[in-house]
């Protein structure tokens, strides 16, 4: 394919040819091209379809403000929808597809929407799909979603990596046009640490797209010279392809660096993109300005472009967007386009200057511009054939980042645009076109001045070197927002298909504030966030309401400046790396056995350990339970939180944080305790041992290890700051195993060095022991209801201890059990855990009301006595088993009286946890039942409407196994 529209000049590498495909057709371009410039060079203007009316569209711009030329880039897992062709850097083998069209871009069946446009005016959806209500979810929404919308996602996993990075600097300069370059140069020469970031792949900003001179040479060459100097300064970091997406608090800016988007596949070891967090002491916004169009009938045809973009394609990329071009402008900058194009040898057939009273009133050409109709000041109309039209309605300073902290831009009459207002982000200065200084001289001068101001503020000095000579042309703009003519549609926001008519309709329906206008018409929404359309929309609104633009006001901007891929925000936090994984000391042993694991917070715990021949999890779990209750079982309980508490006030401190009393626990003993929240709900439970006069070891649940420790620090520092008490989390320091079952003691006697007979180490005993000379801790506590101990050794010996116990205790046939068997045994014993400790339950609900001591002040004690929390018929923990032992129970089922209708009013409570008990030979459950303590022995139903289960159950004591506790004292 020949590049039929390629002309001389431009910053492209003509010696190299890049091949690419658009909608399956092959084309060629050069390094330095964007997808849009390359397509235009090949004579392709049609690149997309509009959102609502499916109108054929070409690029409006040559930058990140692009509303129309959105394509799907790449294929498979790398496919990315809604990519702006105007900023997609061309690479060899690039594949792009147009979107929002069917069956093809040239013929789109949904183009029928365009003919039905009368129906699709602003508010159409709000008004039409009001009723019947039930139709919305099933009928209207799916249809609307299919018809509207932009690109599609591949649904395949993204194979690329994304990184997060952190940078610190004295001065962040946002944008590398003349203002940004001058600012970076001034600060860089002064020795400040500077980061200069630009979204383009070539720094220089507008200088790359212009023909005028800076400092006696071509602007682009001056920029290249500055960049060459900056690249030699070790204190300056140049970041191309890096978009500063937002200003956050305290000088922190977010930036996305597209490290590999200009390559077919990222280089080995390189991420696709990096999300930078830039900590800057000061920042300068030098983001330039964006040209805006003028609304006139059929102003959205492929071939109609912003005048400055038409000029950029010619100057920077050596591309003529058309053979015969016209320019429609309301300011002097439009005339520059005409002059530049002429100089490039293009045929400029008309310059329509609204300041002379001339206007474009209509255009023709379905898939590409064919002609424009012009009305002159005398009212005469004529139609001329053109295939490209440059439109300039003036330039809007890119104030976006400056308004991220809600600073409202203010109207500037001279340039007819909004400039940054007061109260921008602290430490952010604005320079150049972004500040309303639209000439090159103004940009250079302001860039230098703001850099000096920023450095002076930081106590550094920067020199004001003499500025290079540059044009300083006045703006000379006479606002023209939309051409008054006829009844056709004149587009304001091309991406959302918002026309002048829509704004009129919104006004007619009394949506007169700009914020309402935006929501009602969708003006300024979607991927371009109204970069070209917003100001025109509110200017039209101002005109309709008879108010000035400053009176009408403007919406403000939020981060991000341009769309950010979800993968970039996620960085490496995805898949198994979404969060850190913590492994237990027995993990490697368990992996060797082929164990199954379960995620518990960040921990990976052994869920069950299958033996050969076991094909179903229940077989393994039942075996583990039965073997433990018959002889001995070992379970890794390292994940439980452990906190060492020391100090002369340790006991008094625990009395404050536990609902029950711990200062009276004798040295060498444990006690089970309940921690309440101040609102009286149970926060956590666990056993705490007194290891010495002023030394306790507290345990928490796995889930609350971090939050209990945080709470304890709060109590210690904020509530009782003078208590002599010190805390340290030792969860990671000790490997801890539960050894449970009738032979638990016999097994442990084989490994510990001390006498642990019942007399020497009675039930609830605790102490420091040794294991083959190694320091260890032993607690005689039980979660399973069996004679049980928990033994702890320094973490690095955990694996060895487990293997030693299994080897030395082999005669007792020990089993290692996982969390499932643990759950079975604790439910058989009626011990509360996750399902019961749900943050909405009191000690009384759990049947532990007597544990809350009223003889001392403790967190939650007072509010646990509130009316409503001490109700006679409140929820009480009960045990549940089905009347028919073969029947199934499901956790979450609700209690209903026999014969009661399954409605909320009859709800008696719910099943919190359920397991199959191999001892009772049936499903068993725990549950919270209203007045449950008085219903033991009665029958109810456990109803699960979702699963279609309605099971008659017997309410029993939660202590379903060995209720007298004879086994654990054995």
């Amino acid at each position: 394919m020949s590049q039929s529209h390629r002309i001389a000049g431009g910053q492209i590498e003509r010696s190299k040819t890049l091949r690419f495909h658009f909608d399956g057709l092959p084309y060629q371009g050069h390094p330095g091209d964007t997808l849009a410039s390359a397509l235009l060079a090949n004579g392709v203007q049609l690149m997309g379809r509009s959102f609502k009316y499916h109108r054929p569209r070409g690029p409006l711009s040559a930058g990140s403000e692009e509303p129309n030329a959105l394509v799907e880039l790449r294929t498979g897992g790398r496919q990315e929808p809604n990519t702006r062709a105007t900023v997609a850097e061309l690479y060899d083998g690039l594949e792009a597809k147009s979107q929002n069209r069917w069956p093809s871009l040239r013929f789109d069946a949904m183009g029928i929407n365009d003919r039905l446009s009368t129906f699709f005016a602003a508010g159409f959806y709000y008004k039409t799909f009001m009723w019947p209500k039930s139709f919305w979810e099933k009928l209207y929404e799916p249809i609307i979603r299919r018809a509207a919308g932009l690109g599609s996602v591949s649904r395949e996993e993204d194979p690329d990596e994304y990184e997060k990075g952190f940078l610190h600097c004295d001065l962040l300069v946002i944008g590398a046009g003349p203002a940004g370059l001058m600012a970076a140069l001034t600060a860089g020469r002064a020795g400040a640490r500077v980061v200069l970031a630009d979204e383009d792949f070539r720094m220089g900003g507008r200088l790359n797209a212009e023909t005028f001179a800076v400092g006696g040479k071509l602007g682009a060459d001056w920029a290249a010279g500055v960049l060459a100097e900056l690249s030699t300064l070790p204190n300056v970091r140049l970041m191309v392809r890096t978009t500063v997406i937002g200003a956050f608090d305290h000088g922190i800016y977010g930036a996305v660096e597209r490290v590999s988007d200009h390559l077919a596949v990222p280089m080995a070891g390189k991420p696709r993109q990096v999300l930078w967090r830039i900590y800057s002491k000061r920042a300068i916004l030098a983001a330039g300005a964006t040209e805006r169009p003028i609304a006139f009938e059929n102003n959205d045809r492929p071939g109609i472009m912003l005048a400055g973009s038409l000029r950029a394609y010619a100057n920077r990329w050596g591309v003529k967007a058309g053979e015969r071009v016209a320019v429609f402008t309301n300011n002097d900058d439009g005339l520059r386009t005409a002059a530049d194009l002429k100089a490039k040898g293009l045929e400029v057939v008309a310059v329509i200057d609204s300041r002379d009273g001339d206007e474009v009133i209509d255009t023709k050409g379905k898939l590409g511009l064919k002609s424009v109709t012009i009305r002159d000041s005398a009212g005469r109309t004529r139609t001329i054939g053109v295939d490209a039209l440059g439109v300039s309605g003036g330039w809007n300073p890119n104030v976006n980042v400056h308004s991220h902290h809600r600073s409202r831009p203010v109207w500037n009459e001279e340039i007819a645009g909004f400039v940054p207002g007061a109260d921008g982000p602290t430490g952010l200065l604005v320079a150049g076109a972004a500040a309303g200084g639209l000439s090159t001289h103004a940009a250079l001068a302001q860039g230098q001045a703001q850099a000096i101001a920023a450095l002076t503020d930081l106590g550094k000095t920067a020199k004001a070197d003499s500025l290079p000579e540059a044009e300083d042309a006045p703006v000379r703009v006479t606002p023209l927002w939309h051409v008054h003519h006829g009844k056709g549609r004149a587009w304001i926001d091309q991406q959302n298909d918002v026309t002048v008519k829509d704004v009129k309709l919104a006004h007619q329906e009394n949506f007169s504030s700009v914020e309402h206008l935006k929501r009602y018409t969708t003006l300024g929404m979607a991927t371009d966030q109204g970069k070209t359309g917003n100001v025109i929309g509110l200017a039209v609104m101002a005109e309709l309401t008879g108010r000035s633009i400053p009176e009408t006001g403007t919406t403000i901007y939020r981060p991000p400046y341009t769309p950010v891929a979800m993968g970039t925000l996620a960085g490496r936090s995805r898949g198994t790396e979404f969060k850190p994984t913590r492994l237990t000391p027995s993990h490697h042993w368990a992996v060797e056995q082929g164990a199954f694991f379960v995620e518990v917070g960040m921990w990976l715990r052994t869920q069950w350990v299958p033996k050969s021949g076991e094909t179903e999890w229940r077989q393994s779990v039942d075996r583990e339970v039965l073997a433990t209750r018959k002889s001995v079982g070992i379970c890794d309980v390292t994940t439980l939180g452990k906190i060492d508490i020391q100090g002369t006030d340790a006991g008094a401190f625990l009395d404050k944080v536990y609902a029950n009393t711990f200062s009276t626990v004798p040295v060498g003993k444990c006690r089970y305790g309940l921690v309440l929240r101040e609102d009286g709900m149970v926060f956590d439970d666990g056993t705490t041992a007194r290891m010495g006069e002023n030394e306790y070891v507290m345990t928490t649940t796995t889930a609350n290890a971090v939050t209990v420790f945080r709470h304890l620090e709060f109590c210690r520092q904020c509530l009782w700051p003078d208590m002599d008490v010190q805390l340290i989390s030792t969860t990671e320091a000790w490997a801890q195993f539960s050894v449970a079952g009738p032979n638990a003691r016999k097994l442990l006697e084989k490994v510990v060095d001390q006498d642990i007979s019942d007399a020497a180490f009675p039930y609830m005993g605790a102490g420091n022991i040794t294991v083959g000379g190694l320091r260890a801790r032993l607690f005689r506590i039980s979660f399973s209801g069996e004679l049980a101990y928990e033994i702890a050794v320094p973490t690095r010996y955990g694996d060895a201890l487990l293997r030693e116990m299994l080897a030395k205790g082999a005669e007792f046939d020990p089993v290692v059990y996982g969390t499932e068997a643990l759950g079975v045994m604790r439910i058989e014993k009626g011990h509360v855990a996750g399902g019961e400790l749900n943050g909405q339950s009191t000690a009384l609900n759990m049947g532990l009301g007597k544990m809350v001591s009223k003889k001392k002040d403790s967190i939650g004690m007072v509010l646990s006595q509130r009316e409503g929390m001490v109700e006679e018929n409140g929820y009480r923990l009960v045990g549940v088993k089905p009347v028919n032992p073969a029947a199934k129970l499901v956790a979450g089922s609700h209690f209903l009286e026999i014969g009661a209708a399954p409605v909320a009013a009859n709800d008696g409570g719910w099943l919190t946890s359920k397991v199959y008990s191999p001892h009772l030979g049936c499903d068993i459950a725990l549950g919270y039942l209203k007045g449950g303590d008085k219903k033991i022995g009665t029958r109810m139903r456990a109803v699960n409407l979702v699963g279609g289960l309605d099971t008659e159950v017997e309410i029993i004591s939660p202590h379903m196994f060995d209720p007298e506790g004879e086994r654990l004292r054995g």
Partner: protein, 94 residues
């Protein structure tokens, strides 16, 4: 955000856990105050648009609880103190 820790200097807010109003330090005594006082303590907070004294915990750091005076509108931080010092200044002891 950046919090200027009185001991450790400027630290990123991501290292901290936010709790809420500094008034959580003013816990009534459970043996003398009643349910009403505790209800106010546990549930009632001012929600100012402006300066707000609030508790932050340096969990990924030295475990200090801090009282941070932050403007809820601008996020400007004007003062950072150790919560223990604030608690003592309020007369809290054991």
């Amino acid at each position: 955000m950046i919090i200027h820790h009185p001991i450790l200097g400027p630290r990123d807010a991501q290292e901290f856990v936010y709790l809420g109003d500094e008034s959580l330090i003013d816990r009534p005594d459970g043996m003398t105050a009643g349910i009403e006082a505790f209800h106010d303590y546990a549930y009632n907070r001012d929600n100012p648009a402006g300066a707000h004294r609030e508790l932050w915990y340096h969990e990924q750091g030295d475990r200090s609880w801090l009282v941070v005076t932050r403007n809820t509108v601008t996020h400007e931080i004007t003062k950072v103190e150790l919560a223990r010092d604030v608690a003592r200044a309020k007369g809290r002891t054991k």
